[in-house]
Amino acid sequence: MSRAKRVMKELQGIKDDPEAKVDLQLVNENDIHLLKGSFLGPPGTPYENGKFLVDIEVPMEYPFKPPKMKFDTKVYHPNVSSVTGAICLDILKNAWSPVITLKSALISLQALLQSPEPNDPQDAEVAQHFIRNRESFNSTAAFWTKTYAPMDSVSSGETSIDQAALYGIDRTLLDQFVSQGFAEAKVVEVLRRLGIKSMDANDNESANKILEELLR
């Protein structure tokens, strides 16, 4: 079977390469079609110092069909679903070629983290955030990396996560509505739905819209 031989060769190739920036492991020793890839966040990006895990499913027709990849680690990125971890990358879809290896696909994912494509997004909300306020996006992405992709692989629990930082929402804006008696989770949900991350002090129109949604 070409698939088994090819995957074996790729595993051996990564195992033998000391300079490899990526790692590849079998999830279950009985199954050669389920693998777990991992790589470090590219330096000079909000994903720096993070270790990202990728679920890989190798189809029967591999290498003639692309492997199915999705992030196991939560990533705040325009081309990665923040909920499911689904990836929007051409080489994993229509631009796949049998010459591409699992190793080169993982390196491409690493490159994708370095240079996002907001015009072809997987997560529209994150893409909007990226386009509108890059600085805020970077801090949110860095917070997600610190929370979900720490190098020591020990992530803090969901309860201790700051919701405002998690979704890149301005803390003062959130506190403004929480002080009025609304639940923090509800305010975050409304602000996310409306796509508002921050607001001017004299922007009454947006404030009214938020209140309207909160009271609904």
């Binding site: 090819r6 060769k9 595993l11 051996q12 195992k15 003639f64 070629s97």
Partner: protein, 462 residues
């Protein structure tokens, strides 16, 4: 041993170009990589060349072209008819694949002895002898890359010869390598260096007339004479006449050693390459437009190729497509095609792998049973009930036997249970009767007793 260990063993047994990184010649990994297919990452098997200049295994590229009509490397337009067989690369890859393990072993051995200092006296003697020898040494001039090295060898005398030769390192490690691998190439070279043939004047063939002459004679006079037109007319001079050189006597054996003429050694791979021709007698198996082909026509086509016609339409289409690929790769591209029965065997193994992988592996008897016997036509008229009954006769008998024994057991259990209930009822009734009799008047006693007996009889009957 766990399954994990076997997977690790399998991974360990996989060849990789990086195997050469720790050897004396790490640059060999480039050759190793170049002789691999970019699709399967294995060594090229029946390689074919694309018009854009890329080489792949015949089966790999044909399977890819069933899906995409472009080169996997450069994305140039590509169709199956454009592929050209590469017999030479096929033989190089096959030859290299055989040689690879020995080469790796040999290079790893050499790596171990590379840094050893030269202390062997016999080696030193050879070094001294080679250095003091006045004779000319014929060697290919490596700098002269554009010249035709096959015809004329550039002669380097002692004066213009490089002082440090590449052979030095070989002689330095010769003794140890001889101990470890007596059949290795370096050992034979070492032994040849020690042989008395080394003392003889070097003979070389004239590239024009093909006769053997001493190197000096060939270089000084004969080549010029052979090349000039006058040399064809006038009788040959004594100086340029072929000389039979008397070799110096071997001081040990006092016998005349024979000087071996280096004949061209033809290998099996080389012979196969020379004999290789594109197979014109066998026709290419054509692709079928399945949308306009009826099921009956498809079955006829498969049966004409002696292929099974079982399964769904899609399975038959897949079967034909794969066989067409195997056929064309074998008869159009291969240097030594196999017969049709072998192709059918390969198809069967491919199909079994392909079908087995479609069914998810679960534990338990039923799922295993279903994997062995897929019951796709169970509810249709095509389902062979008699065949099924015969195939699973044992299983049915066992089930019937088990059913009978369980029925007997249940009957026994119910009868025992009923018996115990009877006993309990009778004792209970007797107790109640005796307790009631004391309180009943004597005139009513007989009637009550009759009732009780009838009741007890009725209960026993039930």
């Amino acid at each position: 041993m766990s399954r994990k260990a076997t997977v690790d063993e399998q991974i360990g047994s996989v060849t990789d170009p990086r195997d050469y990184r720790k050897t004396v010649i790490p640059e060999l990994q480039d050759i190793d990589t170049l002789l691999r297919c970019n699709i399967c990452k294995g060594f090229l098997k029946t390689p074919v060349l694309t018009p854009c200049g890329h080489t792949f295994c015949s089966l790999c590229i044909r399977e890819y072209l069933n899906r995409e009509q472009k080169c996997p490397l450069c994305l140039a337009e590509l169709r199956e008819s454009m592929l050209k067989s590469e017999f030479l690369v096929n033989e190089i890859a096959a030859s290299y694949t055989k040689l690879r393990p020995k080469l790796l072993e040999f290079l790893n051995v050499e790596k171990g002895h590379q840094t050893q200092p030269v202390e062997d006296s016999s080696c030193m003697e050879i070094e001294h002898h080679l250095a003091s020898s006045d004779r000319s040494i014929s060697r290919i001039n490596e700098e002269n890359g554009d010249g035709d090295d096959d015809d004329i060898q550039i002669i380097e005398t002692r004066e213009n010869r490089p002082s440090k030769r590449p052979a030095d390192a070989i002689f330095a490690s010769a003794k140890k390598s001889r101990k470890e691998s007596p059949q290795s190439g370096i050992t034979s070279l070492f032994n040849r260096a020690k042989s008395p043939a080394l003392h003889q004047p070097k003979l070389a063939d004239c590239p024009i007339c093909g006769k053997s002459f001493p190197v000096e004679v060939l270089q000084r006079t004969h080549l010029d004479e052979c090349l000039s037109k006058e040399a064809l007319d006038k009788p040959e001079d004594i100086s340029s006449s072929p000389v039979t050189v008397k070799p110096a006597l071997n001081p040990v054996s006092k016998e005349l050693p024979t000087i071996e003429q280096p004949d061209f050694v033809s290998t099996t791979h080389y012979n196969r390459y020379l004999e290789s021709t594109s197979n014109g007698s066998v026709t290419r198996l054509a692709k079928i437009n399945f949308s306009s082909t009826s099921l009956q026509q498809l079955k006829q086509k498969l049966s004409s190729l002696k292929l099974p016609t079982a399964g769904s339409r899609q399975q038959m289409i897949n079967r034909y497509n794969h066989y067409e690929m195997l056929w064309n790769s074998n008869y159009i591209d291969s240097i030594d095609p196999v017969d049709e029965s072998e192709l059918r065997r390969r198809l069967a193994s491919w199909e079994s792998n392909h079908n087995a992988s479609d069914i998810p592996s679960k534990s338990g008897f039923i799922s295993k049973f279903l994997i062995k016997n897929p019951m796709k036509d169970f509810k249709t008229d095509r389902f062979d009930r008699k065949g099924w009954a015969q195939a699973h006769q044992r299983a049915f008998r066992r089930l019937i036997r088990e059913a009978k024994t369980s029925l007997k057991k249940s009957k026994k259990a119910t009868s025992e249970h009923a018996g115990s209930l009877e006993q309990e009822d009778s004792t209970h009734l007797n107790q109640s009767v005796s307790s009631d009799l004391s309180a009943v008047p004597s005139n009513q006693l007989v009637a009550r007793k009759d009732n009780i007996t009838t009741c007890s009889q009725g209960s026993s009957e039930t």
